[in-house]
C-alpha cells in the first residue's frame, strides 16, 4: 500500500502556525493574562521573523514558547473550538477531495505538520486522514513548558520522519506521494516517488516547474 504525506499549513489550509497560537493567547483565563501573553509574543516577533527566514525549526521552537504555562486541560478543552473557528473555515476548497481521492486509491494518508498534534488529530478526523506526524508540547506537572518534544517536525526533519513512517508501515517510498506548498519542504518532497506542489510559493513553483512536479492549485 502506498501512502500520501500532506503538509498542512498553506497546503490544505490557508492558516499557519501563528493563527491557532493567537487563538490560544487570546483565550487565556483572564483578559490580563491574554494581554501579558500577547505582549510577550509580540516582543519575540522580530526574532521569529528572522528565524523564519533562516531555519523553520528555530521558528517553531520560538513560537511554541508562547504556550509556556498553559495547562494541559486548557489546551485540550480549547482544541475543538480552535479547530472549528480557526482551521476548519480556512480549509482550501478541494482539500477534502484531494485527501478523499488518496483514500479511495487505498493510500494511507498522513498529515505532516509543524502544528500541534492535538489540533492535527482533529483535522485528520475531519479530512479522513489515517495518521498524523506533528509537533508535541512538553508537559510538566500538567502545564506546558513552552518547549517541543524531540523530534521537532520542521524542514529536513520532516523527510526523516516520513522515511521512518514509511519504513515502519511497509510503504515503498517510490510509490508514495507527498504534497506541500513550501520550499522548506523540498526534502520531504524529494524522498517520495510522487511529489506534488500545492499552491506553491515562488521558489517551490520554480523548482516544481524545473523538475516537472505536478502543481495543484487548490484555491482555484
Amino acid at each position: 500500500m502506498a501512502a500520501s504525506y500532506f503538509d498542512v499549513d498553506g497546503t490544505l489550509v490557508t492558516t499557519n502556525l501563528v493563527h491557532p497560537t493567537f487563538f490560544y493567547l487570546l483565550n487565556q483565563p483572564t483578559p490580563l493574562h491574554s494581554v501579558a501573553k500577547l505582549g510577550r509574543a509580540l516582543f519575540k516577533a522580530p526574532w521569529m521573523a528572522l528565524a523564519e527566514t533562516r531555519d523553520r525549526r528555530l521558528f517553531n521552537e520560538l513560537l511554541f514558547t508562547s504556550y509556556e504555562g498553559l495547562s494541559e486541560d486548557r489546551l485540550l478543552s480549547l482544541a475543538e473550538e480552535a479547530f472549528e473557528t480557526v482551521m476548519k473555515p480556512k480549509l482550501y476548497p478541494g482539500a477534502k477531495d484531494l485527501v478523499q481521492v488518496s483514500r479511495d486509491k487505498g493510500h494511507d494518508v498522513i498529515l505532516v505538520s509543524g502544528a500541534l498534534d492535538f489540533l492535527m488529530q482533529l483535522l485528520a478526523d475531519h479530512l479522513g486522514a489515517t495518521g498524523v506526524i506533528a509537533n508535541r508540547l512538553e508537559i510538566k506537572d500538567r502545564f506546558a513548558t513552552g518547549k517541543l518534544l524531540r523530534p521537532v517536525v520542521a524542514g529536513p526533519e520532516k523527510a526523516r520522519l516520513v522515511r521512518e513512517h514509511a519504513r515502519g508501515h511497509g510503504h515503498d517510498l517510490d510509490e508514495c506521494f507527498a504534497y506541500s506548498d513550501s520550499y522548506s519542504d523540498v526534502p520531504m518532497l524529494s524522498i517520495v516517488g510522487h511529489p506534488a506542489a500545492v499552491n506553491p510559493d515562488r521558489r517551490l513553483s520554480l523548482l516544481a516547474n524545473a523538475y516537472h512536479w505536478p502543481i495543484i492549485h487548490l484555491a482555484a
Binding site: 493510500h107 506521494f177 510522487h194 505536478p214 502543481i215 495543484i216
Partner: protein
Amino acid sequence: MTHPCLVTIDSRSAPRVLFSGDQLVEVDLPTGTRVVYPKPPIEALKDVDAAIRYAINHPHNSEPLYAKLKPGMKVTIAIDDISLPLPPMRKPDVRERVLTIVLRLLADHGVDDVEIIIATSVHRRMKPFEVRHIVGDRIFGAYWPKKLYNHDAENPAGMKYLGTTEEGEEVELNKRAVESDLVIYVNLNFVPMDGGHKSVAVGLCGYRSLQAHHNPKTMRACHSYMDPSSSALATSVERMGRLTNKHLNVFTIETTVNNRMFDRPLEFLAKNEDDLTGTERSALRALTFTLSKLPQAARQAIFQKVPSPYGVTGVFAGETEAVHKHTIRRSYDQYLVPVSGQADILVSGVPYISPYNVNSFLNPLLVQCMANGYLFNLYKGVPMVKKGGTMIILHPCTDQFDNEHHAPYIEFVHRLLPETRDAMELHKRYEKKFASNPAYIEMYRSGHTYHPAHPFYMWYWGEAGRQHLGRMIVVGADNEYIPKLMGWETARTMDEALRMAKHTAPPRPEILALHTAPMLMTEMSARDARPAGETSSQPPLA
C-alpha cells in the same frame, strides 16, 4: 485522369513547403513523388441561422425539437470542447449560433431547468476565456459557471452507471445528463472521427467507460480512425451509444465546417507551390524566414491565437445515427482526395497543432500521436503506405511540455517510455495505477490538466500506425533522445531521409507526400499507382 489536388512532381517543380511544427521548411521531393493537397474550401452556408432553424424543425428520424419540449422539463445541453475545430474558429463559433437558437426555443416553451455541459471527457477543463469564445459573451454571462461548466469525469457523485453492452462495455455517464428529460448535443464536426455516438458516449463518460475502447487492442483493429465503417473504435462507441440512447432522450445537432484554416493573407499555404503568384511566393519566403527567426512563443501566438475563418457547410439534426450519416458525407465532400496506389514511402510535415494542445505546445507525445495516429490515418480505404513501408515526418521533436496542461505526459514520456514502448505492456503494467494518481486527478479536476489516462491514449492512438509501418524517420529533430524514445530514426535533411528509406524500399519506390495543414484526407485504392507505360518514364529515386 488524376484529381487536381493530387500533384506529381516533375523536374521543373518548385520545392514543396511543409510544416515542421510551427516552422515552414522547403523540401525537394524526387520527380514522380505525388503530393496530396487539401481540396479548396467548400462554399459556406449563406444563412447559418436559417440552416440551424431548418435542421431542428426538420430533423432526421426524429420529431422536431419543439415537439420534444414540455414546460418544466429538465434539459441538458452538451457541447464539444475546444479541441474542435483546429485552431478555434472565428467568432461567432457555430456552437454559439446553435445554442442561441436552441436556448431561445427552450425559453419559449417554458423550459427553465437548463444546464450546459462542455463534453470534455478526460480532456483538460476549458478555461473561462476559451468557453466564452465558444459560447459567446451573452450565453457565458448568463450561464457560467453554475449552469455552464466542464464535465468532471472524476466526480463520483456526478457520474451514473447506465449498463453494459452485449460486448461487456460499461457505460457510465454524467449524472446530470442521465437524469435529464432531454439531452441536446451540439457538435462541431471537424474530422470524420468526430460526432455520432462519440459525442455523448465518450464526451460525457469517464475512465471506466473509456477503457472499453481506448486500449491498444481496439486501436490496432482500426483501419482507419477516419473511416467509422472500418474502425473498431467507432464500432465499440456505437454499441455504447446505442445503449445510451435507449436510456436517454438524445437530440443530436451536428455541424460541419469547411477547411478554410488560413485567412486570406496566408491562404497560399494550401496552394500548389507551382501555382503561386509572384507576390504569394515572396510572402511565403518572407513568412518562412520570419518564422525561422522568431522565438517559439511568438510562433505559437501567430498560429494559435488567430482564430480561423472556417465556414459552416452543413447543419444536421435529429436521431444520432441518422444525423451522423449526413455529417460524414459532408465531411468527406470537403476532405477526400482520390488516390490510387499505396506508397512505399509516405512523407508528411507535422504541423503545430493537434486536438490536445490548443493554447499550448505540441509536446513529443503529441507529435507521436499526430504522426503515427492522425496523419497516418488520414485515409479511407487502404492505408496510404504499404504494410512495412516507411513514413518520413518533419518535426523538431523538442523535449518540451506544458507543465500545466500536460503534466502527466511528462512522467509518461520520461519515466514509462524508457521502460517500454510496447503499448500492450504499458496498458497492462502501468495504465490503471498511473490513471489513478491522486495528484494528477486533482490537477484534472481543479486545474486545466489532461487526465492521467490521457497520455496512454495518446500512445495507443499511434498503435495502428506503429503496427503497420516498418520505419519512421524524422527530419529536423533538434535532439536524438526523443526520436529514440519513440522508436524513430533521424535524418538531418529530407534527402538523407529518402536515402535511408530507400534501403528498405523496392527499387523504384512510390512516394506520396501530404501537404497539410489545412486538413485533407485521401480516398485510397490499392491498385498500382502508375498507369501502364508511365513506370519507365519515372527516374529512380536519388
